[in-house]
Amino acid sequence: MCLGVPGKVVEVSNNALGLPQGKVQFGGVVKEVNFCYTPDVQVGDYVVVHVGFAISKIDEREAQRVFDFLQRMGDLEGLDMPEESQ
């Protein structure tokens, strides 16, 4: 129900009420999305979309953090190794 799908912004415009909207591409599919909650999006940004609304703009730098964490963990495991073999 709280499914949020990441997609790429391919078009930004305004609707009849002057609210920001546009198109987001998910894999091969393009959908109409309302940008009221992410008013500063630009073409090329990635957003998380839930029931036709972008609820956040994905932070590219933060997105990398999972992999940095794993990297650090890998380094720690390296340090653990000798202990284990004792």
Partner: protein, 366 residues
């Protein structure tokens, strides 16, 4: 797909599993609140990979599952009216009311339509001024801004033939209710990433302090959940009471201010009954007085319909994490996704449906 595939890397997942297993000194009982997360955990067998290191308790986090029986009956009463086009998200179609469900009502002639967004329902109202278009506004905090926006736009544009049947639930009061139970075994929580995308996680900091229990806000992909669990196990092993955020690519501490503002404008906090659990004070949303004309319960005078729940289904205990779906005598026998007896078997995010889809498959393969 970017921001999806890389979070499903099996090699990195294995490393995280190894880390958690090594770090954990006991099978920490932790709960994931959100049904979307339950779905991922069961689908990828993460709960089984972590057996002995983490005991995952599946929480009440599926708004479809906790929508009270009487709301479904009210929905049916409205949907059966000649002038009404009743619109809903797909997963509400098969939720059993006390006698039938929306899909069966549709088969018998009611005009029930599935929509992807509440804005699609509003568009139908603009196109069919001679009909009454009702949208079943179900959801957690994640969905509240979308539903609020549909009502706000209808109000701005003066769309008179649009209304919403509201069944909105809030996560923090449910956590509070779970923690007030003296029998609870929960030692930590995975907080729901998309609810927090909208609301932020300040409320969880308050909960963490009141109940001396750590939280990690996590995303929905396997690596998100595994990293979130790794962070949670670190906190538990070190005895730290904190709220940490794994899903930083989408969640910040304050949430989304634009989305929160429209929810605040249109909705107010109200008492709510959760199917299978019962009443929880201040755990839901209803329309504010100035938007009452858009409330389908008033417009169609169905607010008096009330129902008691049946006793076959142990959904209540499952939604509170006290029992697993396989503990239910009806699971996979009288109750299946084709013939659901209870709501957790309906939505793909319901714990019973997730077990049915993935556990049975595994057993067959084994």
């Amino acid at each position: 797909m970017k921001y999806v595939d890389e979070y499903r890397d099996p090699r990195l997942a294995r490393e995280l599993v190894r880390y958690i297993r090594r770090r954990s000194t006991r099978p920490w009982p932790v709960m994931e609140i959100c049904g979307g997360q339950t779905h991922t955990l069961i689908r990828y067998g993460i709960d089984q990979l972590l057996e002995g290191a983490v005991t995952l308790i599946h929480g009440p986090g599926c708004p479809v599952c906790v929508t009270p029986l009487e709301k479904i009956d009210r929905a049916l009463a409205i949907a059966r009216r000649q002038e009404v086009i009743f619109t809903t998200f797909g997963d509400m179609m098969r939720v059993p009311g006390s006698e039938t469900d929306l899909l069966s009502a549709k088969a018998r002639g009611a005009d029930v339509r599935m929509v992807y967004s509440p804005l699609d329902a509003l568009e139908l109202a603009r196109k069919h001024p001679e009909r009454q278009v009702v949208f079943f506004a179900v959801g957690f905090e994640t969905t509240a801004p979308a539903n609020a926006m549909a009502v706000w736009m209808a109000h701005q544009e003066g769309v008179k033939n649009f209304s919403v049947l509201v069944s909105h639930v809030l996560v923090p009061p449910a956590i509070q209710a779970l923690m007030e139970d003296p029998e609870t075994e929960i030692k930590g929580f995975i907080a729901p990433g998309h609810v927090c995308t909208v609301m932020g996680y300040q409320e969880y900091e308050t909960l963490a302090q009141s109940y001396r229990i750590p939280f990690v806000v996590a995303g929905f992909e396997p690596l998100d959940l595994l990293q979130g669990l790794a962070m949670l196990v670190d906190l538990l092993e070190e005895g730290r009471v904190e709220v940490q955020n794994q899903y930083t690519r989408s969640v910040c501490r304050e949430g989304n201010p634009h989305a929160r503002a429209i929810v605040e404008e249109v909705f107010e906090v109200a008492d709510m009954t959760w199917r299978g659990i019962g009443p929880i004070p201040k755990s839901g949303l209803c329309l504010r007085e100035r938007y009452r004309t858009f409330d389908a319960e008033f417009r169609f005078e169905v607010a008096t319909i009330s129902r008691e729940e049946s006793s076959v289904c142990i959904a209540g205990e499952i939604l509170q994490g006290k029992k697993k779906p396989v503990d239910c005598p009806a699971f996979g026998r009288e109750c299946s996704p084709e013939h659901p007896l209870g709501a957790p078997m309906v939505s793909s995010e319901g714990a019973c449906a997730a077990y049915y889809a993935f556990r049975r498959l595994q057993e067959a393969e084994a």
